[in-house]
């Protein structure tokens, strides 16, 4: 499914961190298209060379699909022709022909599946279903498979919704496990491309299950499939808010986090951004903290393999405690975010959360901070900074006060009491012992 990486190239500094090339091999060609589109959209007027390159890439990308009209247009644009060559018309004709053919082949089964009396007789047992259809309505396995092929063709033509529907029907009936899993992948692609995130999430979950179970004894394939799934999941991750938490859970799952570390460290950028922007939004603060800790650890481990302003920001802030460097990286990171297809919409969010993060750890370490200095650091003017801090203190219940006369923020760090510590340490003891005795008794 993955296509050869199209020849895009970077423009200014942030584009040095452009990940399209790295992402592309793991995405479907239909999915790469929006990425290219986005890149083209960011080009300035005078960069005709690059625009042309992107155009060529688009053409190369879509050449193999069946979206003949569009490809023909692209070709014309690329070659400066008015009329597309005849072969496109021919191909178009062929595609139409094929579409018709499949339409006929699947007509019957489609019609059957729309009839209530048939659908009501279907059970959860696929084999029985097929038997039933065969007996009652002369449905053969070939017809079922035709659904699959038709779905593929539709997808290739860009009719994602139809393709999705077809593949759904196929999956209900088919007993061929391999094909079913392909169909699941296909549906996931369709749902992503038609931006119906909810069902995309469902499909994603199905794919994940099939990876975990079906490929359990083929580690290499498991790795590859997981890599691909992680890449595909980026679409819902940044476009559908409700998907965020389950997806983060997925990414931090041992198998997937290993996949990211081993096979595609550039995903770390997205993961980092997702975790940081998720701050405060998560229902469970504990989970969020744990994720933050994990991401810091992983960024540290992978520093030798992958670095970009986003990960460097985390590194500077949480590992080196170099606030100036962190500030600097944040500026760069913002630029990078703004030029990233997935992250564009989250740039402001990220910057805001990152500021919070900086301030939080700054406060943890410092006892007294000059308001002026802080405002400079946050990139705000004095009054705004004051307001910001007051809000922050109120929101996060920091133990801090503003000394207006001195122009400082004073933190109060009460040392954790020894008694508290003792209590903490012995907290679970009783429960654990109980469990232990229960286990012994068994």
């Amino acid at each position: 499914m993955a296509s050869t990486s199209p020849a895009t190239n970077g423009d200014a500094a942030p584009a040095n961190y452009d990940l399209v090339l790295k992402l592309a091999p793991h995405l479907d060609r239909h999915m790469i298209f929006p990425l290219l589109e986005f890149n083209a959209g960011r080009l300035k007027e005078d960069e005709t060379d690059k625009a042309r390159e992107i155009l060529a890439a688009k053409y190369a990308l879509l050449k193999k699909t069946n979206m003949t009209d569009y490809v023909a247009n692209l070709y014309c644009e690329l070659e400066g022709l008015k009329e597309p060559p005849a072969e496109y018309a021919e191909r178009r004709q062929k595609v139409f022909h094929q579409l018709e053919k499949y339409e006929q082949e699947t007509a019957k089964i489609t019609e059957l599946l729309q009839r209530d009396d048939v659908v009501n007789n279907l059970r959860s047992d696929k084999v029985a279903n097929l038997e039933f259809l065969k007996k009652e309505h002369d449905v053969t396995i070939d017809m079922v498979n035709a659904l699959y092929d038709f779905g593929q063709l539709q997808y290739s033509c860009g009719n994602y919704a139809d393709a999705s529907e077809l593949l759904y029907r196929f999956r209900v009936l088919s007993t061929d496990n391999d094909k079913v899993s392909y169909a699941t992948w296909g549906r996931l692609a369709c749902e992503i491309l038609s931006m119906s995130w909810e069902s995309a999430m469902e499909e994603l979950q199905k794919v994940r299950e099939s990876i975990d179970t079906r490929l359990a004894n083929n580690p290499l394939a498991q790795l590859q499939h997981r890599t691909q799934l992680v890449h595909w999941a980026l679409f819902p991750l940044f476009n559908y808010d409700k998907a965020r938490e389950p997806l983060l859970d997925l990414f931090f799952n041992a198998g997937f986090i290993n996949t990211i570390q081993a096979n595609s460290p550039w995903i770390l950028r997205y993961l980092t951004v997702a975790v940081i922007t998720n701050r405060g939004r998560a229902k469970n603060a504990g989970v969020q903290q744990k994720q933050m800790k994990d991401i810091v650890r992983i960024v540290k481990q992978e520093a030798y393999e992958y670095q970009d302003p986003v990960t460097r920001f985390v590194h500077a802030l949480c590992i080196d405690f170099d606030f100036e460097e962190a500030q600097h990286q944040l500026v760069l990171a913002e630029e990078v975010l703004r030029s990233d297809f997935f992250l564009l919409a989250h740039a402001d969010d990220f910057v805001d959360s990152a500021r919070h993060l900086i301030f939080e750890s700054y406060c943890k370490i410092h006892a007294r901070i000059s308001l002026k200095d802080l405002s400079a650091r946050l990139g705000l003017n004095n009054d705004d900074a004051e307001k910001w801090i007051v809000n922050l203190i109120r929101d996060t219940r920091l133990d801090a006060k503003i000394d207006y006369k001195e122009g400082t923020v004073v933190m109060n760090h009460p040392p954790s009491s020894v008694y508290q510590q003792v209590i903490e340490r012995t907290k679970g003891g009783f429960f654990r012992t109980q469990v232990l005795t229960a286990a012994v008794a068994r």
Partner: protein, 873 residues
């Protein structure tokens, strides 16, 4: 006579009859020679004594110890009857011999009984027994007459029975039939050897039995004649060497192309027998090789035998192969490979059938492409390699001799390389069925020779290797175009092995690759490979040599981390090996003298065999230096930290280091540092006192750093680390005595950037190592008050710690007992490591199990699937 000369170089023989043994190499022929009437008086005299010794030897081989001498007397007295007597005959001796004869007689009568009642199973057992007995009684090629009679009769009877068998419809019972078959097969083979005597017997049985030995002897001569040339040729050869006198027998050189293979056969047969003079045989074969070989087949056979004979010289005991022999073997092997390369239709493969080449030369069979010669090139190469290692082990590494010897490695590498090409060539033809394993073995050897060398050296080796093969030759596995890049070469070789082999070879291939990467400063790559290999979990199941390789690799990875400036990782990796205090043993770089354990000589010998030759050693002093320096950088701040706050658990990173430090502190007077250890210890002291400059000086004045590439970089790196750790130590030590500390002061004190200082302080605060906070306005560190605990408080903390660890231990015990089936306690942090591939690449360089050769001496099985995890992600 020349024999005296040769007697000289055979001084190692331990038998009492040294003189006799000189000739033993010719024993086969000499036996016969005794009866050769054409030989001069003097000559025959000698030969008789020789014959005695040879039969003596045969005896010796069978009966060990005291009886051996006894029997040698027997033999002599026996020979007394038919030959010129020695004056040693005794009565006691006679009885022993007679006993033998009696036994023989009784066996024969048993056989006769068996014949009477037609009991073939009895006959079969008795016949075997008979054959065993007769060997002892044989003199020369003559067997006792009664024996001849028995076997001749038996054969007749057998034929009779077989004939009967065909006519009578009644079947024999199963055991009987089996016995008959066994006898049938054996007797045919057996009787061939005694054919002349049997013929004589058949001709006139009475006369044969009555005839005495004088009569018998000439009868055998006819057979003897046929082998005679060999002997006389040798004789001539000897004489040529010794005195260059004309042979007393005046014979001409008999090396003819036809007879070569016979000579070879004779030599092969005598192989492995005691007291064969191997040097002598080698000389014979050298001449053979020079004079004759006409067909490639002959050449190949001669060379094969010659090489193995050379190796035999080094076999047994600790003695290694003489240098000249090694070189000769190397040359021979080279020419063998050359022949094989030239004569494509002759192949040497394992498991080919022996050719019956006594009478006519084997030719390529109809319908087949090749003439298959049995043998194994890879074994020869391996042996050559091993011999070189052995001799390197024995030579004092600090002499020029060692260097000289080491240059031979180049030619050895060439041989290995050509061997590899040859095997690749063989593998191309599937019909030959050359096992993958042979190719793996040879690739492993090649890898073994390159993995520990710097890239430049490998490059030179490779260039030389390519130079000696013809220009169009190319290797499939390691193409010529790739040979320039050592890294690629190693990669190709080890990947090939990884894909095509399993078990130990696979693991070794991995380790070699990791070692090479680590040697070339590819820390992350080597570490990741090490972790994904999961070898640390299974290494205990491997053989000792592999464990040693594992240890070496581990150390190399550690050193690599150090060069990268990753002190923590370096210390962690080296801990296992260096912390044990048994580096020498674990790296096989010297035998440890163990005071309290009993080591049998056998173990000691094995241990010695395992030692690596000096040029492969990892410098132990450098290793110690790196380890101690790393330990210092980690331990000193830790000591300072634990010193000031009692509630921090007493954590010890390196016991070895602590012990040394304590010892050093106990000394009343400390002189200027002399060795590496002193330097590090004094640096530690200085660092602990906050004198980082002094510490840096001490560390920098260690001379051994010069052995590292980029010495200056490493020194700068160390200076930087010392500065930082010094700052940390200072803060830990003096924090209780200050209220505030200006960052500027700290920065000037440690000559660090104030930004760096605040970063270090921030880090310490954030990790709750330091109870303090920064004041941004005044740029100071404010230390918090009231963090010191009272005694009661800290005791309470300790108690709570103990309680929770108790619970944990309980849980773990239960879990072990129930084999984890009661997974009530499986908490998130111990998720199974099964499919976590890179998951463990966490900071600590992975858990390691000790590759402790001593402990695991027993378990050498490999559990196969262990490496399967390697690909998991």
């Amino acid at each position: 006579m020349s024999r005296f000369f040769r007697g000289g170089d055979d001084s190692s023989t331990d038998s009492s009859s040294e003189e006799e043994e000189v000739y033993t190499s010719e024993e086969e022929e000499e036996k016969v020679q005794a009866e050769d009437e054409s030989s001069s008086e003097e000559e025959s005299d000698e030969e008789e004594s020789d014959e005695e010794s040879s039969s003596d030897e045969e005896e010796g081989a069978k009966k060990k110890g005291a009886s051996r001498f006894l029997q040698s007397d027997d033999e002599e007295s026996e020979e007394e009857e038919d030959e010129q007597s020695d004056d040693e005959a005794t009565t006691k001796v006679k009885s022993a011999k007679d006993k033998r004869f009696d036994e023989l007689e009784s066996t024969i009568s048993q056989i006769q009984n068996g014949q009477k009642i037609n009991d073939w199973s009895l006959i079969a057992t008795e016949f075997d027994k008979l054959n065993r007995q007769v060997v002892k009684l044989q003199d020369g090629s003559k067997a006792p007459k009664s024996y001849i009679k028995a076997i001749a009769d038996l054969e007749d009877y057998m034929n009779e029975t077989l004939a009967k068998q065909k006519v009578t419809p009644k079947k024999m019972n199963a055991t009987n039939a089996r016995g008959l078959n066994a006898v049938k097969q054996r007797i045919r083979k057996n009787n061939k050897d005694y054919q002349t005597q049997i013929d004589a017997y058949r001709k006139d049985s009475d006369a044969f039995m009555e005839s005495d030995d004088e009569v018998a002897a000439p009868k055998v001569v006819s057979k003897v004649r046929f082998e005679a040339p060999v002997v006389s040729a040798e004789q001539q050869e000897e004489d040529d060497k010794g005195f260059s006198t004309v042979d007393s027998r005046g014979k001409v050189v008999q090396y003819t192309p036809e007879s070569i293979l016979k000579h070879l056969r004779a030599i092969i047969e005598s192989r492995g027998k005691k007291n064969t003079d191997r040097l002598e045989q080698i000389k014979v074969m050298e001449t053979l090789n020079k004079v004759v070989p006409i067909t490639p087949y002959q050449k190949i056979r001669v060379l094969q035998t010659l090489i193995s004979a050379r190796f035999d010289l080094g076999a047994g005991g600790a003695a290694q192969m003489p240098l000249d022999q090694w070189k000769a073997a190397e040359r021979d092997l080279a020419s063998l490979l050359e022949i094989l390369e030239k004569e494509k239709d002759h192949v040497v493969v394992e498991g080919a059938e022996e050719w019956d080449d006594d009478d006519h030369l084997p030719t390529i069979p109809e319908g087949e492409k090749y003439l298959k010669v049995p043998g194994s090139v890879v074994s020869l190469i391996e042996r050559l390699d091993d011999e070189l290692t052995r001799s390197l082990q024995a030579i004092d590494p600090h002499t020029s001799e060692y260097i000289d010897r080491l240059t031979d490695e180049g030619s050895l590498y060439n041989i290995i390389f050509r061997g590899l090409l040859y095997y690749e060539h063989l593998r191309k033809d599937a019909s030959l069925e050359v096992p993958q394993e042979s190719l793996n073995r040879i690739i492993q050897r090649r890898l073994d020779h390159v993995y520990y060398k710097p890239a430049q050296v490998v490059k030179i080796l490779e260039e030389n290797a390519w130079k000696q093969v013809s220009a169009e030759a190319d290797s499939e596995i390691t193409p010529r175009s790739q040979s320039g890049d050592a890294g690629k070469l190693i990669n190709i070789l080890s990947n090939y092995l990884f894909e095509n082999s399993e078990g130990i070879i696979r693991a070794r291939a991995m380790l070699c690759q990791i070692y090479f990467l680590a040697l070339h400063d590819e820390y992350y790559k080597s570490r990741d490979l090490m972790l994904t290999s999961h070898l640390q979990e299974t290494i205990a199941n491997f053989d000792i040599a592999t464990q040693i390789l594992y240890n070496r690799t581990l150390v190399q990875v550690g050193l690599c981390a150090f060069r990268k400036g990753l002190v923590y990782d370096a210390q962690n990796t080296l801990q296992e090996i260096c912390g044990s205090g048994r580096q020498k043993e674990l790296l096989a770089q010297g035998v440890m003298i163990q005071r309290y354990s009993q080591v049998t000589p056998e173990q000691e010998r094995l241990e010695k065999q395992r030692q690596l030759p000096f040029h492969m050693h990892i410098n132990l002093e450098l290793l110690e230096c790196v380890y101690l320096t790393c330990s210092m950088l980690l331990e000193i701040p830790l000591l300072a930290q634990t010193g000031s706050s009692p509630d921090v658990k007493k954590r010890i990173i390196s016991k070895t280091y602590r012990r040394m430090l304590e010892y050093h502190e106990r000394q009343i007077f400390t002189g200027p540092p002399e060795n590496t250890r002193d330097h590090v210890m004094q640096a530690s002291k200085a660092l602990a006192a906050g004198e980082w400059k002094k510490a840096t000086d001490f560390i920098h004045s260690i001379k051994i750093w010069d052995l590292m590439p980029n010495t200056e970089d490493i020194k700068t790196m160390l200076a930087k680390q010392i500065q930082e750790e010094g700052l940390r130590t200072y803060l830990f030590t003096y924090a209780p005595f200050y209220d505030t500390l200006a960052i500027a002061t700290l920065s000037s004190m440690f000559e660090l950037d104030s930004r760096k200082v605040s970063a270090v302080v921030s880090k310490m605060i954030s990790h709750e190592e330091l109870a303090a906070a920064l004041d941004q306005v005044t740029e100071t560190v404010i230390f918090r008050k009231g963090v010191e605990l009272s005694r009661l408080q800290s005791l309470a903390l300790t108690l709570s710690d103990k309680a929770s660890s108790l619970i944990e231990t309980n849980e773990r015990t239960l879990e072990q007992k129930t084999q984890g089936s009661a997974n009530a306690f499986s908490r998130k942090d111990n998720r199974g490591g099964g499919q976590r591939g890179g998951g463990q690449r966490g900071g600590r360089g992975g858990a390691r199990t000790g590759g402790n050769p001593q402990r695991q001496a027993g378990g050498t099985q490999f559990t196969g699937g262990a490496l399967g995890n390697a690909v998991r992600g």
